[in-house]
Amino acid sequence: MFVFILRRVLISIPVLIGSTILVFIIGKLLGDPLQDLRLRNPPVPAATIRAEEHRLWLDRPLPEQYLLWLKGLVLHGNFGPSVNPTDSIGGELGSHMWVTMRLVLAAVFIALVLAVVTGVLSAVRQYSPFDYTTTFFGFLFFSMPIFWFAALLKAGGIWYNQHVNPATFFTIGDRSVDAQLPNHAWWTTTSDIIGHLVLPTIALGLAGYASWTRFTRASLLEVLDSDYVRLARAKGLSSRRVLVKHALRNALIPLTTVTALDIAALFGGAIITESVFQWRGMGALFQQSLIQYDVYLLMAWLLVTATIVIVFNLVADLLYGVLDPRIRHA
């Protein structure tokens, strides 16, 4: 088991190194971070521009820039200079990352639980009205643009607040401003954060739910059709026991991999959801990096999300090994 874990961890190191190269290339492709400064009218003194170029390492060859960036990253945890001289990219990312992680984790958790429950039920009752209904809604949610649904939810929340019960839903931001809270006890802030999570989580979770519930259904149906399940039935086990003891475990193991592969897409969805609900998370930071051509902020952003995705994949890999001995001993 230890060897298995070690091997998996070692495999992800080259992927991480590769992603630093890819991220650096994408960042450099974005454009010249000083183009706004150069075009400014009245013109900025040449000395100022040269100083900025020096600060942003633009006066060095590309490989040297990459090595400098990588050295700062590995040795000092420094993500490089931002276009805004007072901003620390690491600090910005750190504060924004947890906001987004909160949303992504909540969406994954809720979508996964619901997907497994409905997927199993519709597989067990194949071709029942319940099955047809969930299949249809699965298709529908799968085809629904996340931004449209998020905007609809937000508008619905606002309407409900105005017409039925004021201040039921939080529709803007990831949390209330401190001054709006009656006190600063931990339960007040926690419930405030959870309240702000409700609508965005539904919006983001929907797409994941749709594909996972279809996967669960298909996977369970395939297992239920297999010989060992037929044998288990033939030797007289109750269908409940067959399902819980034999079928479910084998059917659900591949779901860990599927979920991990979808994490990157969920981050993409989180950017959109955050922009609809005006959160100050990774999405806002990403938009800022593109608009200001803040190259190192973009690199840091892409690298952090890539790392999170790699870590999720690693965890899924390890979990797969724990759940399925054939993988572990292969």
Partner: protein, 336 residues
Amino acid sequence: MPEPTATTTATSGTTTSGTTTTGTGPALAPGSPPPSGQLTRPVEREFTIKERSQLRQATRRFLRHRAAVVSLGVLIAMALFAFVGPLVWTHDYRFLNGPSNAKPNIHYPMGTDNLGHDVMAQVMRGTQQSIKVALLIAVLATVAGSIWGVVAGFLRGWVDSGLMRLADLILTIPGLALAAAIARSQARHASSGWWIIGIILGSLSAPYVARVVRGMVLSLREREYIEASRALGATNGRIMSRHLIPNAFAVVIVNATLLVAAGILGETALSFFGFGIQAPDTSLGLLVSAGQGAVFTRPWLFYFPGLFIIVFALSVNFVGDGLRDALDPQQTRQRR
């Protein structure tokens, strides 16, 4: 070599989901009720049934999937609306000559926005652009991804691992973020035409296709029927044309169809986010973005473009499902 003739004898008694007739039985419709005329024929007659071409079998199976057939009709109607509509319709999506904020009426079936744009003309144009981008994404990703996957699967060795690690690498970064960054980098060089967005999203979807195709190439070359036909003395060319390509083709086509649905969702999301198709032109995503603040005050601005995206993506997904049934019956063993 003739098509493998079905030797099925509808005895699905023991199975739980009631389906054992998998296979590509050309004579028997899998899952048709047992007491039909065909099934009660003497078994010897089965082998004398005229061979049906693969295409005709596929068409038959596709036509049986009712949702897919209806969806195909919807898609054709939408394409006519998007491509022929602007030629016929009296208003232009760029003109501001309507009343502002008119509710849907006989002159403006989808209403107008605050500047006096006719929303129906905008939705026509938006649907047209979104369909073009989605198709470009699907074609580009399928062609590039298939080559990528076939090269990796055939050559194996270090080429394979190099190419597949590259695919893994690209897939670790959210596609939407990558696409937005690249689209932004192009914004200063060229006017962001629809085809740039299509090329960006298509290239970023290619690794998905490459993974699928590589896996297929690796598994197909080990299949027993390939081995069997090689043992029968078939040449490489015959194996490729009779077995490898038809079998791979089905999955690739189904995948390409589903990519069209994913493509329109990607394009509209990118345009909604502000880094896709840009303002003088329009796309369904841009229209939703413009209408998102007016869900209750001027709902026509928000619902029409949104519904067009949903109906389009849903129809494409149903057609993809139908194509899967038609071309690749083994994948849908659980269906009837």
